[in-house]
Symmetry: C2
Subunit: 128 residues, 2 copies
């Protein structure tokens, strides 16, 4: 099992690469055969190609998107739950959406599953 | 499927009864045959008797325990993820621990499964 420091590093890299528009770095956070359910309730996307398609869809919605940790990260064994904000910018305006992510990891601290709890309707203008 | 308002009401009742030391009211939030994993990584407890035993253990650790919502609640279909603080008081001092709860619900908005992500070692003195 990966240790907590390695899992934390993957989570940090995941957010940093997403924010920096580094698609390959972000995809490298996932194990082969990983799946994501983003947001929860939508069909799961399995493997690098389908997860890469999700990247394209989400980044196509905004000029840029920052993922920012928002205070709570709990790593237990090979699982983690954490809070973050997605902060898309569009035509000079920045918006904020709260997300709770639940992930599992393999022995190399690569993401094997990811479920993102959020409600797109709860997006609001950023005030900070 | 229960609607989001009914699920929100169960979550509110769950926190209020736990805080008010209302064990029966808290147990009534669960469906028959429900299980909890609290914290994640410990054995699951299934059914009213075993979940009731968990209540006794957790309330035995402090003079009182407040559960307080801490800002993020997302309800999608029959699932919810939310953040809260457990605020135990012991010998006049109050402590704080962040929790991410993930729950599923039946058609009557009763809890069918609950997983609580937190690290007891991250407990800290309350400053608010």
């Amino acid at each position: 099992m990966a240790d907590a420091a390695s899992i934390q590093k993957t989570i940090d890299t995941y957010m940093a690469c997403f924010t920096a528009d580094d698609k390959d770095g972000w995809l490298d956070c996932f194990a082969e055969g990983a799946w994501i359910e983003d947001p929860v309730g939508t069909p799961r996307r399995t493997g690098r190609d389908d997860i890469g398609a999700f990247w394209g869809e989400s980044h196509g919605l905004a000029d840029s998107i920052e993922l920012r940790s928002s205070g709570i990260t709990t790593i237990i064994g090979s699982e983690a739950a954490f809070t973050m904000q997605a902060r898309p910018s569009l035509a000079g305006a920045t918006y904020v959406m709260d997300i709770i992510d639940v992930m599992t990891f393999d022995d190399h601290a690569k993401i094997t599953t990811m479920r993102a709890f959020y409600d797109p309707a709860a997006m609001r203008p950023a005030t900070d």
